[in-house]
């Protein structure tokens, strides 16, 4: 079923007209409310009336995570706080999170795009949806939640973790749709096997998986093990949260809800638009958001856009699965991690030097994070309990900053490689 046939199956010219009108409004809104972006436009010699249609989009300056950090926490909001009904936050590049705010209308838009996405995946109002994304500051849980309610499906708001409970409710409630990170779905599949739960006792038929990169091989494995159709959903909190784009039943790229979010692909080096169909960095412009609209926000995700007609009948442009990042961000168990966050924690602690090495592994189906920190002579104690206390302190600080568990290992000084140029801070051993 197509939830909003008018918007999802619109002709290209008609879509461009809708986008152009909404873009003009958004440019006005930002120009008059966000001094830092107004200055960027002025520096580029632009006034809002220079942007007449989507064809002028490329003239606009970019917005980056650094702009959000510089305006932390609410400086990029274009409405008074009295209009903001919810905030979410994701990892920033340093200790401070990236904060986004939603008006009532924004939440309605979000629910709409998630509902559309669920329909693309083949979910309907008779489904029982187990939302095993984290509920909280992370947009995954609540994003899926309100989309499901808007659709009229039954939501089990179980959030992430608590695997035994997940299995119990899945079996007892007859869950038909599972929404979580792809790696957690594989973890659940193993737990189901170990618990000896028979496949025929489960009613799973659709999986809505996102928030981290996964491969076609993982898709096959998940589909085999759980007996469901695994659908890829994409989003980022800066733009909205999950539901910025989603695959349809044909699983051939994720349809972008481009009447709300205009995608572009640029060359991350030259910052110029690439030729149609080429891989580059995905850039989004939000055109209906009120709380925190963003013009040409650089996602750092590498992908390409497909404008061919899709079998499902939707005309919404599709984006391929992301091929990687144009920065050093890692996605670990659905959580965004920037090496610079770790560096800032270590710099804050007087006992440590900012020399570290992050090792990411996939053990079984779960990502693990190991952090090697050098023991400097000035804070080396010859008592085991002191060193253990130091290790715990580092572990605690890193975990509370990153929001995920980390195994800290103390290593001898100078054992972490120094290079003249960019230091190698991350070893990612996951095969993706």
């Amino acid at each position: 079923m197509i939830w909003n046939e008018k918007m999802e199956c619109m002709g290209r010219e008609e879509m461009k007209a809708v986008q152009s009108e909404r873009l003009r409004e958004t440019v006005q809104r930002i120009y008059h409310n966000i001094p830092s972006y107004r200055k960027k436009m002025q520096d580029a010699g632009l006034v809002p009336s220079d942007i007449r249609s989507v064809d002028d989009l490329h003239k606009l300056p970019f917005t980056t995570k650094i702009d959000l950090r510089d305006n932390y926490p609410f400086g990029m909001f274009t409405v008074p706080m009295s209009e903001i009904v919810r905030v979410h936050a994701s990892s920033g590049t340093t200790g401070k999170p990236t904060v986004v705010g939603y008006t009532r209308k924004d939440l309605a838009t979000w629910a709409e795009v998630v509902t559309r996405s669920l329909c693309m995946a083949g979910v309907h109002r008779d489904d029982m949806v187990q939302v095993a994304y984290g509920y909280g500051l992370f947009t995954g849980g609540l994003g899926l939640h309100y989309g499901c309610e808007n659709l009229g499906a039954t939501v089990i708001p179980i959030s992430g973790g608590n695997t035994q409970k997940q299995l119990q409710l899945m079996e007892d409630f007859g869950t038909t749709v599972l929404a979580c990170t792809p790696s957690y779905s594989l973890f659940l599949a193993e737990a189901i096997e170990e618990a000896g739960i028979k496949k025929e006792n489960l009613k799973l038929r659709v999986g809505i998986f996102g928030a981290e990169p996964w491969t076609e091989n993982m898709r096959k494995e998940i589909e085999n093990k759980l007996g469901l159709k695994a659908i890829d959903i994409y989003g980022l909190s800066e733009i909205m949260g999950p539901g910025v784009s989603c695959e349809c039943e044909y699983q051939c790229g994720m349809h972008v809800h481009e009447d709300h979010f205009i995608p572009e692909i640029i060359d991350p080096e030259t910052l110029q638009p690439v030729a149609p169909g080429e891989i580059g960095e995905l850039v989004f412009t939000t055109i209906t958001k009120e709380g925190i609209p963003l013009l040409r926000y650089r996602t750092r995700d590498l992908t390409r856009l497909i404008y061919d007609k899709c079998e499902c009948g939707r005309t919404l442009v599709r984006m391929e699965k992301c091929k990687g990042r144009s920065d050093d961000m890692l996605i670990i168990r659905g959580v965004n991690v920037f090496p610079s966050q770790i560096e800032s924690v270590l710099l804050e602690m007087s006992e440590t030097a900012p020399h570290y090495l992050l090792i990411v592994e996939r053990e079984g189906n779960l990502d693990t994070l190991k952090l090697m920190v050098e023991v400097q002579e000035q804070f080396f104690s010859d008592e085991v309990k002191q060193l253990e206390a130091l290790r715990k302190k580092i572990t605690h600080k890193i975990q509370s900053t990153l929001g995920i568990s980390v195994d800290v290992k103390l290593v001898e000084p100078k054992t972490i490689e120094r290079t003249a140029g960019k230091a190698k801070r991350v070893i990612d051993n996951r095969k993706l």
Partner: protein, 142 residues
């Protein structure tokens, strides 16, 4: 009475202990006593050597995390109950022992290296009870 002990941070990986002993051996530094405290993640090598300051410099130059720690060495009769007697005195006087290790050179006496929380108090207490402490200069010579 205070003895300078070398403490070296070691990762749990093969060859590190060998490297330390090789470096000190090449420099003509003799080890009188040593012990290794190990956890699953790392180890701390503690050693008493003939020239602690020189050994410190050598290991530092080789980029080990190393420091000098003050310890005392008790010379005790090598017979049942001798250690218990010493520890009984220390605990009654409120001296806390962070760690200790011991070795015996002959059949009659044993040396017990102690790292107390308060080293001066520890020395006072032991001497007040006529316990024999090994002089630093003698310790380095062994």
């Amino acid at each position: 009475m205070i003895i300078k002990q070398l403490s070296v941070f070691l990762e749990n990986k093969t060859g590190r202990l060998y490297e330390v002993s090789q470096l000190l051996g090449d420099a003509g530094i003799n080890m009188s006593a040593f012990s290794v405290a190990d956890t699953s993640e790392f180890g701390i090598l503690r050693l008493i050597v003939s020239d602690p300051d020189k050994a410190l410099q050598i290991l530092r130059d080789a980029e080990f995390s190393v420091r000098l720690t003050d310890v005392v060495c008790l010379n005790s009769p090598n017979k049942p109950g001798a250690l218990a007697k010493a520890l009984d005195i220390l605990s009654r006087e409120g001296v806390f022992i962070e760690y200790l290790y011991a070795y015996s050179m002959d059949n009659h006496t044993a040396n017990i290296v102690l790292k107390p929380d308060d080293i001066n108090k520890c020395i006072d207490v032991l001497q007040a009870h006529q316990m024999e402490l090994v002089k630093a200069s003698d310790m380095y010579k062994i």
